[in-house]
Amino acid sequence: MSLRDEPRLDTLERWMQEIVMHPDGAVAGVRAAPARRILPVAVGKLEKVVLPSKSLSSIERLDIYAHMYYARLLEILGDEYPTTRQILGNEAFWKASRRFLERNPSRQRTLNHLSDRFPAFLSRHLPPGGRSGLATDVARIERAMEDVHDAPQAEPLTAAEFTAIGPAQWQYVKLRLVPALRLLDLRFPANEYMNALRAGKKPRLPRPRATFAIVYRRDFRLFRRDQEPGQFRLLAALARGRTLEEAVRKSVSRRGGDADTLAATLGTWFREWAAAGIFCAIDR
């Protein structure tokens, strides 16, 4: 495309999009190869494509859109990952966020899933240990909170429905988990660290240690809870569609201990989960 012809609509749209989404602003966008391949126009000749106003040059007018693109989407990432930002610090967080948006432009009509891949992006692009490793775990928790917030509503099982499942039924009963629940296996005690930060404390950076957490919604409020390893394995097995008997056998076989202790432990776990309302159906 040359400027001897009026640019067609699709040319203008592709060209403008390349410019406003350039991470270094409109001037860099106009000069960059992707925009020049679509419409080769120099910054000094820009008025042939975009008119200046009485107060603003052509590039300043384009830059309004370029500025708003990143400002709007970065604000969303900042709102969705406040603790990740706190751990990484503003400079590192905004730098990572900008790079994420540059490489992962939105392809959805809504903004609900803009940052789906942000935790994985941090995991790939930040060093694995120390502060950035912890931040990546916290980002996974904060992403889970967004997902749980938007998940469909499902009525939890009542206590009566729950207690009606007798031991004889365990071999074929499957418990269905509510959609508003996420299971997270973490490399750091990230949930505990988040709790401390949100309580206004200044916790020391923890050493890596495998932890397990669930994020769920009850009565439109979000909750985060740490889980014991066996507890987490049991939930994960149920989430994969195992029967109650299979799930228990696979998750608690490593615990050891006598049958009474095991029964008491399972009773405690299921009472906790029932109170949390994380089961919504019994499949037989």
Binding site: L9, Q17, L51, S53, S106, A151, P152, Q153, F220
Partner: protein, 299 residues
């Protein structure tokens, strides 16, 4: 005047001077999450609410729970930001299905979006980008709007956006583009008088001449909002009260139409609900014989 009966039961007689006989819903505000509790606890005086369609799509959480309750008590209008009617990408029929499902769920009085594009090549910039006001652009958008309207089986209500640049290839003024789009695509218009002000400031245009070019039989809704004046240009920020110049433009529109559903947008630094009631209630002084509750709230 014609008698119209709506399930919400709060409108006895409404003017129907637009070409679809869509009702003058009165005075409304944009429904924002910060006001959910206040609204569902107090059921305040408000003629109707407008929702941002995308905020209630692909979600089944708290927003939808509150929206369902509110939609049982108030008329709901859907207003979107991602339809991208000016884009050269293919029409996203899957998204239209989601809009249609939401419209059915809330019994939307109408639904619409903006005269703009939001992205190409499958990407969404989540902003309202201007189209070049060319014959090619007009033909393209007319075709898209007709396709979408046929699919949804209802008129689209399209809003004039605030724009911050003009393409050199534009061969007609924005208001002519909009007027021809409305007439030739047979779509409805949402006339945002704050956007008229902002656009005219940014392009050194006369807002009165802009308004005089609008085909009012196509206008079914009016938006009011605040903006930020940077001196060199204005940005449509929806973060404050409506300025006097915009109220004067609103009066002019009201004098031309005799009454259109009027909505206040306030999306940043969102105040208490009572402040929104007072601000939109100011519109009642330009309207006759209705909306006593909001007029009282504004006093």
């Amino acid at each position: 005047m014609a008698a119209v009966h709506y399930p919400w039961g709060n409108m006895k007689h409404v003017a129907l001077p637009n070409r679809w006989n869509l009702p003058d819903l009165g005075l409304g505000v944009g429904l924002r999450t910060t006001h959910f509790r206040h609204i569902t606890e107090h059921w305040p005086a408000m003629d109707w609410f407008e929702i941002l369609s995308e905020n209630f799509i692909d979600t089944g959480g708290r927003q939808v729970y509150f929206l369902d309750q509110i939609a049982e008590r108030y008329p709901i209008v859907m207003h979107g930001v991602s339809l991208s009617v000016g884009s050269t990408d293919p029409v996203d029929f899957g998204f239209l299905d989601k809009l249609a499902a939401l419209a059915k769920r809330v019994n939307a009085v109408w639904l619409g979006d903006h005269i703009c594009w939001t992205g190409v090549a499958g990407i969404n910039g989540h902003d309202l980008y201007p189209v070049p006001y060319t014959e090619e652009g007009l033909r393209h958008m007319i075709s898209r709007v007709k396709t979408i309207q046929d699919y949804l089986e209802r008129p689209l209500v399209l809003e004039n956006p605030s724009t911050y640049l003009t393409f050199a290839s534009s061969s007609m003024p924005e208001e002519e583009f909009i007027a021809r789009l409305a007439v030739e695509a047979d779509c409805a218009l949402l006339l945002d008088v704050n956007n008229v002000y902002v656009t005219c400031r940014n392009h050194d245009l006369d807002p009165v001449a802009y308004l005089d070019a609008i085909p009012y039989e196509h206008v079914v809704q009016v938006h009011l909002a605040g903006h930020t004046d940077h001196g060199t240009h204005c940005i449509d920020t929806h973060d404050g009260r409506v300025i006097d110049e915009v109220w004067q433009l609103y009066k002019r529109v009201h004098d031309r139409t005799g009454g259109r559903a009027t909505l206040l947008e306030w999306d940043a630094n969102v105040p208490k609900f009572q402040v929104l009631q007072q601000e939109v209630g100011k519109a009642a002084r330009f309207r006759k014989g209705s909306h006593q509750a909001l007029r009282s709230a504004a006093a």
